[in-house]
């Protein structure tokens, strides 16, 4: 079942086209890689879909419903969650309290219910000692906390924006397994932005490739990586 679909999604910033006529869809249970060179518009694309910025043209549909101009917090309530490249834990809140936020506001849970829900999510991700101050977390734990925060929204669509950046090989493996696990168990549609191609290869069922704001290819990773246009985009004017 198609969870999310965009049609000709376009946004201009001060005359510059950051995302240009991107049409794509994401299905239930699918892990989709979103790749492309730096500055290709991947994060802008996620911002458009999650409602942080509004498009200049085009359409966003969630489960068949038009949400193109819906406010970000309402999309969160419908079931679209995301993580951020730069993670800022909420100061003076503990690990579990950080995770609770999504459950409280996106799901409208009481504090008590949100705490229960958050501890379930944390347990699932292997986070322990939940009352810790966030300044004492390891990088991997911070990344997991960011994912737990998004999962506490109880989303159906989840975007992960470079969650693997800064992790070493073992930590990356750990996090890949974790993401695969939660995606399968919840039948999530997951969109993953990553730079490390190894991660994309391991993690995703399908990728879309953006270059200069345009979608230039999509399909399984192995197939896309042989696409001459993609090779050209990554390698520059060599071809």
């Amino acid at each position: 079942m198609t969870k999310l679909r965009t049609t000709d999604l376009t946004v201009h910033f001060m005359g510059l086209v950051a995302v240009n006529k991107v049409s794509f869809s994401m299905d239930e249970g699918e892990i989709l890689g979103i790749i492309g060179p730096n500055g290709a518009g991947k994060t802008t694309f996620i911002n458009l879909v999650s409602g942080i910025i509004m498009p200049s043209e085009g359409k966003v549909e969630y489960k068949g419903r038009d949400i193109t101009y819906m406010a970000a917090h309402e999309r969160a309530r419908l079931g679209i969650a995301r993580t951020y490249q730069l993670i800022h834990p909420l100061e003076n809140l503990s690990l579990i309290e950080n995770v609770m936020v999504g459950s409280i506001f996106a799901r409208g849970n009481s504090l008590r219910a949100a705490r229960r829900k958050a501890s379930e999510v944390c347990a699932e991700l292997g986070l322990q000692d939940l009352d810790r101050d966030t300044s004492r977390l390891t990088i991997l734990e911070i990344k997991k906390m960011e994912i737990a925060k998004a999962l506490a929204n109880e989303p159906e669509v989840l975007f992960l924006d470079e969650v693997m950046a800064g992790l070493n090989v073992d930590e990356t493996k750990d996090l890949i397994a974790t993401v695969q696990l939660v995606a399968r168990e919840r039948a999530l549609a997951v969109g993953v932005v990553e730079h490390v191609m190894g991660v994309i290869r391991e993690l995703t069922h399908r990728v879309i490739v953006l270059e200069a704001g345009e979608l230039i290819a999509q399909g399984p990773y192995e197939e896309v990586s042989r696409n001459p246009r993609v090779v050209q985009a990554y390698l520059g004017g060599a071809a």
Binding site: G51, H73, A76, A81, Y84, L90, F105
Partner: protein, 311 residues
């Protein structure tokens, strides 16, 4: 902070407050009233600050409440005691209306606009001479409770409890999560489902209502109002300095700051009639430069054995 120690201190403070009217004379009672009033204002200022929005307009809503209360009594014959909640209501409604306009502003633009609004309230009231008495202000025939010191003391204490109660509610409910999330990062708050405008409006209206309520209490305690007295910059300045000194983003911080600065300023007022407020300026500067977390921050750092977070 040690929980038991906090409880003991709170109980002790409560006992002192309750027994004070029976033990102390008129002057100490008045000092206590002043401190309680500023403490309540400091707490309400901090409550909004927890969302990251800094108001320079406390005096505006306070003065509005004061005039609402005294004019309700003088012009509409409202009972003095009833005029105080009326003042709160009016300030709340005004805050609701202006909130829709100004809560889209951030950082210094919000601050400057709140300051400008406070000035506008003052100028409007000053110029509606027939209704408000103009620059000379208005005087009531007598003060509330026939001017009984202890009566007025209890009234002020009531105002303080309202402010502290609201602050406690802010700390222990969803509001705490909403405001903290907004203060930290509005973008990620939005994608966590936080309707930023709604929570800011709630915080702004609640704190403004309490500020109006306190204005009503103040004006009924003194029995008169002039634009210069109830819109005095002191009502913005002193609470701000108290909260900063004690430690922001908490209830305890402003309380601590209010007690220290309140007592200090009473003392200084007796020593130096002009310009004792210079102390407030110095405290603000020192706190901002050297202890941005206030006394509470220093205390936390000390109890954590220096392991507390830096900056």
């Amino acid at each position: 902070m040690n929980r038991n120690l906090a409880r003991i201190l709170a109980a002790l403070a409560g006992a002192v407050m309750v027994t004070l009217p029976a033990l102390a004379g008129a002057y100490p009672l008045q000092v206590a009233r002043n401190i309680m009033l500023y403490m309540a204002l400091a707490v309400t200022w901090d409550m909004l600050l927890r969302s990251g929005q800094i108001s320079f307009g406390i005096a505006g809503l306070f003065g509005l409440g004061a005039y609402a209360s005294i004019l309700a009594v003088l012009r509409a014959g409202m009972p003095a005691l009833l005029s105080i909640p009326f003042a709160a209501l009016l300030s709340g409604v005004v805050a609701l209306i202006i909130g829709f306009l100004i809560l889209r502003l951030r950082a210094m633009y919000f601050s400057i606009v709140t300051l400008a609004l406070a000035e506008i309230f003052r100028i409007v009231i000053q110029n509606l001479v027939d209704f408000t008495g103009g620059p000379e202000g208005v005087i009531m025939k007598g003060r509330i409770f026939g001017g009984s010191d202890s009566g007025i003391y209890w009234l002020t204490l009531c105002g303080l409890f309202v402010a502290l109660g609201a602050s406690y509610w802010f700390e222990k409910s969803k509001i705490h999560f909403a405001l903290t999330a907004i203060r930290n990062n509005e973008v990620s708050a939005r994608t966590s489902g936080v309707d930023i405008f709604r929570w800011l409006l709630l915080a702004f209206v609640v704190t403004s209502t309490i500020q109006g309520f306190l204005g009503g209490i103040y004006v009924q305690s003194y029995g008169f109002a002039t634009p210069d007295s109830v819109f005095s910059a002191d009502f913005t300045l002193l609470p701000l300095a108290m909260a900063l000194l004690g430690g922001i983003h908490s209830t305890v911080g402003p309380i601590l700051g209010a007690v220290l600065l309140g007592l200090a300023s009473e003392y200084l007022k007796l020593q130096i009639p002009y310009g004792h407020l210079v102390v407030y300026g110095i405290i603000i500067i020192i706190v901002i430069l050297f202890m941005p977390q206030g006394l509470l921050g220093l205390f936390r750092k000390a109890t954590r054995g220096g392991k507390g977070r830096a900056s």
